[in-house]
Symmetry: C2
Subunit: 320 residues, 2 copies
């Protein structure tokens, strides 16, 4: 699919690639996690793959929303699209700096950059009617109802037995296009490693006159990653998470790790409800979509097993 | 200097291109200012120029530092290099979205993106010994002294007759290289409009092993813009500010607006102290450096006069 023989991999990184759940999110902690992640990315580069990296931004956006909330009497909070753009800059910088440093130490001069990326969503997406994605700080009922009134937030009780059980929920619509895919392609053609579509991309919607407006929404990063992989005509879509394989009959006696499977098998397992909705489900969905759109293969595995999975030795590998 | 006949202009935008001094900095306000700015950028594109855009980030970084301060008991504040990266994402998004919208309305499909950009500074820069650039919130003497002790901040009394006269000061070292210039060049070669080196770039310094580490510092955006213009071999360096021309004998009877001048004349005026240190001074310095490094011309003018200045009809134009 590429002009060169090197294969192009789009890698969707899991949350723990940047911030571990128990950490507060200092720059030091995040740089350290990014370093561990980049060690594996450098391996993939050495194996001869061209790389595009995408990543989540949940904890970083969450922290920024809290800071905005705390400072709201002095400084106006920015909406979610702008918050997404800010975390793309933050995380993109950490990855490009760290990757560059690895290559410099090996005497390799590879252009690397993060590209601010907008992702198109559709007005008639059902998630706009019933928003499902909790974001930002937790609130008491009184605070939540006030925000509902003052700002038009949709709030839901998401943590029943807590002092602050309420949280804002926003739509998580399906991605259907990557606005900057031409720029990302041009960089890959110039042999660059690109960090793109961070946090699932900045959600934008088409107005009647064809212009694009940012939205208070959050796009699933694996689904957006698949869209990106399709638009740049990647060969492989690699979804990294915290387990070596996707599993069927999870937690039961007949639990089984999935190795090489076909799209049809993956679709069957998905329909049978083997994968958790907020977790493995969207990853398998994104992986299926990529292969059905003509991609060579999708892989779901953990960071530590990524290189082996590219060599076909482990991971859940979905092919036609 | 370019493979095509179209000339490449690096445009350094002044602070009011994004946020007016009297504004709080809501997303709506900033998008509105960016729209006014982009109208002029679209004109320059229509005149046949290839564009790279760079911009300041003072008010946006300032707001984010305040939010971080207010939320510091819940969420760890990010250091200045990360704050710089976040504002590059924020402002980059606003420009790329707005520019894309203008072109879409004209039926033009031009790739546009913001590139997260690091800028090299040198360890022996004198500004590291005596930091000069105030950043972030204002403090009382007690607060300032506490921060000095707890965080090693250097604080200075910058607003004598105020409740909170103290402020953190950080180094503002000279830029000597743009880490991502290859990526920016590749995008321009692919006919893209690029937003880069926002806020003067993320300051990084070379360690002994050749790796780069981010710093708590702020680089002058016009000086970084000149460096970028040199590295991408731009033809024209256009510095936009709030006045139509640089002036000599400013505020005196023999005040004179500068039109077409040579580098030698500009250097003479600079040495004679005609330009304010924190204001027109660094702009003229950056403009001189660009022409001395081989650039065709530097222009200093206001946003509204930018197109006319490119046609040679107004502005301060510095040539060899």
């Amino acid at each position: 699919m590429n002009t060169e023989k090197k294969k192009l991999v789009v890698i969707a990184l899991g949350g723990n690639a940047i911030k571990q759940a128990h950490e507060k999110g200092t720059a030091e902690e995040q740089f350290k996690n990014v370093e561990i992640t980049c060690e594996q990315l450098v391996k993939m580069n050495a194996m001869g793959y061209k790389l595009i990296i995408t990543h989540g931004n949940g904890p970083q956006a969450g922290n920024l929303l809290i800071q905005q909330e705390e400072g709201k009497n002095i400084v106006p909070p920015q909406p979610l699209d702008v918050v997404g753009a800010m975390t793309q800059g933050q995380i993109g910088y950490m990855f490009q700096n760290t990757l560059q440093n690895y290559f410099m130490q090996k005497g390799k001069d590879i252009p690397i950059t993060a590209v601010i990326t907008q992702v198109l969503v559709k007005e008639d997406d059902p998630d706009f009617k019933d928003p499902s994605k909790p974001v930002g700080p937790f609130y008491t009922e009184v605070e939540a109802k006030e925000l509902e009134k003052a700002k038009g937030y949709i709030v839901k009780k998401v943590k029943p037995n807590s002092d602050k059980p309420w949280r804002r929920v926003v739509p998580s619509p399906e991605p259907y296009g990557i606005v900057e895919s031409n720029c990302i392609k041009a960089l890959v053609d110039a042999r660059a490693i690109v960090i793109a579509s961070g946090g699932g991309g900045i959600p934008v919607m088409k107005n009647n006159d064809g212009t694009l407006s940012g939205l208070e929404a959050v796009i699933d990063k694996d689904k957006a990653g698949n869209k990106l992989a399709q638009e740049v005509k990647a060969d492989i879509f690699l979804v990294l998470t915290d387990v070596e394989n996707a599993k069927i009959n999870f937690g039961e006696q007949n639990e089984q790790a999935l190795g090489n499977i076909t799209v049809e098998e993956a679709e069957k397992y998905l329909q049978e409800g083997h994968f958790l909705a907020g977790s493995m489900g969207p990853k398998v969905t994104a992986a299926i979509r990529f292969v059905k759109a003509g991609g060579e293969k999708s892989i779901i595995t953990s960071l530590a097993n990524a290189a082996d999975a590219l060599n076909g030795k482990t991971g859940t590998i979905i092919v036609k």
